[in-house]
Symmetry: C2
Subunit: 609 residues, 2 copies
């Protein structure tokens, strides 16, 4: 306690940061109040980004630079009528950047945001919609009572009401929203819509919720840690394993569907869907447990996932192969292949997992690597990349997943890679030994075209990496044999011929070759015309491999209005599904309630799929 | 901000309270360290209570007064070796009483407690065991990883391990603990034992977890609010209804059992159980889905509930009745009784609920009240009695259910009624109008023999009250007809004759006449000798109706060692099951690990049942 000045320095910096943030927010609020767009724009730095999740734009949109921000305000300010801007807690000084949480309101909603100032100008601004006024979710003190006190002739019990709802939905009553796909994405979105009172039905081809996990290869565990994976409303308990085994997450999803009272039809496949512009209604033909059925929802959400339409390369001679061949999504696990010659085409997550499980069960395994792969050791990834936001330490520092999601969302995609590059530089150093041994074994490595690593690859192309939980050592040791830098020339009756002239005997071929764009689902279900009108899903337009430009600034078509009225795409990993289902559910609720939802910044379509 | 002195007074009082508590705790710790029992006892007020939950006594025990505290320390101090007494947060000044949370350790465990000082002397002390050293539950940073990174020949998946465990339990392997009864009590205890790594099997006569709720009368909702009802580890989400409908809580329990990975056998009845002193093992004969089976657990927990052995009064002529008659536990709900003459014998919770549901469905209903009943309006009860500890406001004030449970547990039973009497005085005033109208309708009211109301009645006798959610208005209005202050003389073919000479026609008789003592289960399952050796369960020995003295100071036989080695009783409402399962699970874990568990203050048996 001898050097008070030094001890108080962080406190003084925080005070100054709070004053700076409060002053900026007051000036911004005042300018918007006066509809003085010029003054509002003048509060931004030349290098500036405003990311809005639904609250101003009824879209998911990043305005990059002052002209775009001016455009955003020109288009949205009059209708949005923002007000009540207020800091939410003290600001922080983070290496010369002031960071501050705030709340605000619009004409129809309440919002939360995160502001970053460089000096007294705004560098990044995040605005998000948290709830619609008058349509707040009942919770805490406003939760339902559960029983109606008093005496009511002909009272219906909770069970009777649920049974009636289930019996009538799809026949006497129509869902407002039909969600096609009952994996974690559809289930989480369904839970949010339930809480918002939007009549919703989830249809799923498998029998039970969770089956889309249960049916995958038996060694599969989530590659992301538990802090990243919570579903909305009902977080995992604190003993839940870091990496959920697939059957355990399956059970959780089944339980979640039940206790959240979701309307969920298993064993149901969608045959076709057609939108009638006149009635503003979809006609969806389904088959439920073998029986045909027509539904007429107002909104159609494809939550069939990024990993839904398998990509199987067409190799000459594949039909002449006498062994077993299947896509990774159909792979049952290693039990039947002990002592067999197994070839896995591909070198991303599934390829590595499947190779390792086959090796562990005594198969002879070769991985065919056709292009370079980014390898990130799971522990290193957790430590360097996720730890600050999604970890036990983060929770101890007051950053739960709600806060982490917003911090994550506040970094504009345009500059996200600059945050990631140093992380992967560090990873390269820390795991240099493994990388060296992999290269020695002939494995082709990369860290993304600009060195920005795993998550940018995921956002740009949804592929190109393996989160190493052990298989890389097997590759480095030669226990998983490697055939690298070659292409498959032809498949023969009992072998594969490669572009380098070599031939490999095979009893089993697994195509761990990934999945097509989600608008492939729209093509299958609706029509090629609609799929083309909507265009490619996912990717940012970064101009890197599998993510052609022009720059889009947001993931294409995800969780936001598309070029097809009343058609929506929902998906992503558990973190994204959890967070963005909030914004998709608010967009759907607003439409159901007939609120005006003028969309700003609808993207043009540059790629078909 | 003009009167700084006044504004700072509470802060100054809190500082003084903290200093007083710290000083007391330091002196207490030092005295115990030196094994100076006289000095330790001198730190207590003449009016003093020390309630210990397992940490010193390996029992659930309240020492009342200095001699009892001296006795407790004489018996336990040497083996317990307590240390590391430390305040946990600042103390509070509550109307002249200093309240302080603290932590401590013993030779084998960590603990938490709550201290109340009057002046500088201790008035009430609560010590509780939170975890056994070396046997801590894995959670947060120590949670399991879920996947074993690296390559392991012959790796078993999570599902394979679970399936193997389920297949072998009861045949190849024996449970250490067998829990008979798979309602919320057995399930919650099972979850705690699972987390502690104690091999446990729960057996339940119904098919699925939750069925014991589902099978009850259809209008049933929990009478306690959600904040009071959380299960261990996995609290209800914040939209969960205040009063859970029975089928909804049934679904929750079923899903809880699944995601907590409990070993749970439905459709299983226990036929007999016998303890072998030599092998220190039970031999339990069961029937699982019709097939006989023998289990050999080391510990046997009866979690069959307070509401398990129906009490059916033997009325003359009951066998001649031509209508339908059943105990309330068998009542299916009102649907079959529209327009029928229904008589409900009894005037407690179930009687009121059943009468109201019958009336709502158009039956002609008469309630037969044989003795007086305590009526507490649900809203008033929540507001006056529970609100401070279990409510949304409490949560906002930082009192979650973990903290509330400890605060609740810190009030010694000996003086608990003095805390409750003023609450019910207030209730009497607030709801005077209803009480007046009920009395006018002939309803016999009471507030407990000493005016201490509902919860004391629950603890003393487990009966004698109705939490009013609407039926009392029907009674006051005469919609539910009342036959009060009479006894049943005889049951005839189509009517009931009463002690006042009147006769009432009846198509249905419901015996809402409560349940017997839990040791009735021990008599049925083990033997009358063991049931008599163990004696009556529940009740405090208050000397009030149905709770004969002498004073015991704790609930008889609940969650603590009984006179029968390796036989335990678990039960109570959701709050009690949640909290006391912690202490029962720690007692069982310690025995499994072979830790010494010398029990202090085992109660003598005064009543057979």
């Amino acid at each position: 306690m001898t050097d008070t000045a030094t001890l108080d320095a962080p406190a003084a910096a925080a005070d100054a940061a709070t004053r700076a943030a409060a002053s900026w927010l007051a000036a911004f609020g005042a300018a918007l109040e006066k509809r003085d767009i010029a003054s509002a724009v003048a509060l931004f730095d030349e290098d500036c980004y405003w990311r809005d999740l639904v609250s101003f734009t009824w879209n998911i949109k990043t305005a990059e630079g002052k002209p775009a921000i001016r455009e955003l305000l020109d288009a949205t300010l009059a209708a949005t009528r923002p007000s009540a801007w207020a800091l939410d807690g003290p600001a922080a000084d983070a290496g010369g950047v002031t960071e501050a949480w705030f709340t605000f309101e619009t004409a129809v909603a309440r919002g939360r945001g995160l502001l970053r100032l460089k000096g007294d100008k705004c560098w990044t601004l995040l605005t998000t919609m948290t709830e619609l006024k008058g349509f707040e979710e009942a919770k805490g003190g406003t939760r339902p009572k559960g029983v109606e006190h008093g005496a009511l002739a002909q009272r219906q019990s909770w069970l009777e009401r649920r049974q009636q709802e289930e019996a009538e939905l799809g026949t006497k009553t129509q869902p407002y929203v039909l969600i096609v796909g009952g994996g974690q994405g559809g289930i989480g979105l369904g839970a949010r819509l339930r809480r918002l009172g939007v009549p919703t039905l989830i249809v799923e081809k498998n029998e039970r919720p969770g089956d889309s996990w249960r049916k995958r290869y038996k060694s599969l565990c989530l590659h992301d840690p538990v802090w990243y994976d919570h579903m909305p409303y009902l977080p995992f308990p604190e003993h839940w394993p870091v990496f959920s085994p697939k059957d355990k997450i399956g059970d959780w999803l089944e339980m979640y569907t039940k206790v959240m009272e979701l309307n969920y039809w298993g064993q149901t496949t969608c045959k076709s869907a057609k939108y009638d512009e006149a009635t503003q209604e979809w006609t969806v033909e389904l088959e439920r447990a073998g029986k045909p059925l027509t539904l007429r929802p107002k909104q159609l959400v494809l939550a069939t996932g990024m990993s839904a339409v398998p990509n199987i390369p067409k190799f000459a001679g594949a039909d002449t192969f006498k062994g077993e061949q299947h896509h990774s999504s159909q792979h049952p696990g290693p039990d039947a292949y002990r002592g067999k010659k197994c070839v896995v085409i591909g070198s991303n997550n599934s390829a590595h997992d499947i190779c390792a499980a086959l090796w562990e069960n005594g198969a002879d395994v070769t991985m065919v690597q056709r292009t370079s792969t980014h390898i990130a050791k799971s522990d290193t990834l957790m430590d360097l990349a996720l730890g600050g936001l999604y970890s036990e330490d983060a929770v101890k520092n007051g950053i739960d997943h709600h806060k982490a999601d917003l911090i994550f969302a506040s970094v504009p995609y345009k500059i996200m890679h600059t945050f990631h590059i140093p992380v992967y530089e560090e990873m390269k150093k820390r795991d240099a030994d493994l990388y060296g041994r992999l290269e020695k074994a002939g494995f082709m490595l990369d860290f993304g075209e600009d060195g920005s690593g795993l998550f940018m690859k995921y956002l740009r192309r949804g592929s190109g990496y393996y989160i190493d939980v052990g298989a890389s050592e097997l590759v480095a040791d030669g226990k998983i044999k490697l055939k690298s830098g070659v292409n498959v020339e032809r498949i023969n009756a009992n072998s594969i011929s490669f572009s380098d002239g070599s031939e490999l005997p095979a009893d089993l071929i697994v195509y761990a070759t990934g999945y097509g764009s989600m608008n492939g689902w729209a093509a299958q279900l609706i029509s090629k015309e609609v799929a083309d009108k909507v265009g490619k899903c996912w990717g940012l337009g970064s101009g890197t491999t599998k993510d052609p430009g022009p720059w889009e600034g947001e993931l294409r078509n995800m969780w936001k209005p598309t070029q097809q009225e009343a058609l929506w795409f929902h998906g992503g990993n558990l973190h994204q599904s959890r967070h963005y289902s909030q914004f998709l559910s608010l967009q759907l609720k607003a439409r159901m309630e007939g609120l005006p939802t003028p969309v700003h910044g609808m993207q043009a379509v540059h790629h078909l799929g």
